[in-house]
Symmetry: C2
Subunit: 202 residues, 2 copies
């Protein structure tokens, strides 16, 4: 299994370099559990999904302080057949037997209910892709049903689903969508956008 | 068939609202061929892939004028089973018989060679996802082979491929990747990031 994300932080300010550099210490608690590589377009973080999502959440919270309009984008992936197996990505969450869809939805809801509260609002949208199986839409519809009961569901849009609420619950919900649906050893990806402090927010 | 994209423009400046509003006339030549809906996270554009990519390219060029560091992100999709069929998205490019992979690669290269030159550099990375078929990796490897010969290939990264060059060739290349690979009536998506004027560009 190989899992991780290509992430980018876009602070809409002249001081974007300073905002990004000031936000990077948010990674510190996770550095031993992540492989991190940066270039001019994005930063790769490789690790287990729980660590990857916690690091993204904390980076988002740090990068959107002081009311700055900032957006975090992430291309998240697990199980891509073109990537090498990596011990750093091993997690029991993706090695057990596949439970029935209803049980997975219940576990996902429980995880979201116990997510930490960050105090930072998040407006997010994401697309979940499950590759290589004939019944990928069944898993996606199961995931959508979980989302509608997650407490952060906002609305469906073309090509994606909107969620909103405290960043803790929002990132926990998307993490659950990522690990609970689709085959455990399958190729699953998420295209995620999280927006803070937009002046055009409804 | 239903095709289009959720797009967002992120100008890294205090004047981001003005930059976005000033860039929007780039859509004008395409408005009759697109359905456009905006909210605080992204703008939906629905239409045939050729029009969608031309509109994105022109928005990118307009939104990154004057050396501003700006990023365009797009979640691009065709053939999603959950979306309604739309006559606005009908195109002969996706209704003919499936040609052999080698012929499709040759046609894609020809299209990139005749792309307009915009004079604006683009550093991009994207992930191509082909859903619901057992052989999705074969189509992706075929696409990667095309990319390596496209003239804008930069390098492979985890989870995505980097391309760089004039925005005309870059958007043409990604358009070709989107329409020539994967089944014509299949569900194919792209997670695309295009960056202009990054101060950390190599």
């Amino acid at each position: 299994m190989f899992s991780g994300a290509q992430i980018s932080l876009y602070p809409m300010t002249d001081r974007f370099v300073d905002v990004i550099l000031s936000a990077l210490p948010a990674f510190d608690p996770y550095r031993e559990k992540l492989r991190i590589e940066t270039d001019d377009i994005s930063t790769l973080i490789v690790g287990t999904p729980d660590v990857v999502f916690a690091a993204m959440r904390d980076l988002y919270v740090s990068g959107s302080a002081d009311g700055i309009h900032a957006v975090l984008h992430a291309t998240i992936s697990r199980g891509c057949p073109g990537e090498p197996d990596d011990p750093m990505c091993h997690t029991e969450a993706l090695t057990g037997p596949v439970l029935p869809l209803a049980e997975r939805k219940a576990s996902a809801l429980q995880a979201v209910a116990s997510a930490p509260v960050t105090g930072r609002a998040a407006a997010a949208q994401f697309s979940l892709y499950v590759m290589g199986t004939g019944d990928h839409m069944e898993e996606i519809y199961g995931c959508i049903d979980f989302l509608k009961n997650s407490g952060v569901f906002d609305r469906s849009k073309n090509f994606c689903t909107r969620v909103k609420g405290d960043a803790g619950a929002v990132f926990a919900t998307i993490h659950e969508a990522f690990v609970r649906f689709g085959p455990p050893n399958g190729h699953v990806t998420i295209d995620l956008t999280v927006s803070a402090n937009s002046p055009s927010a409804i």
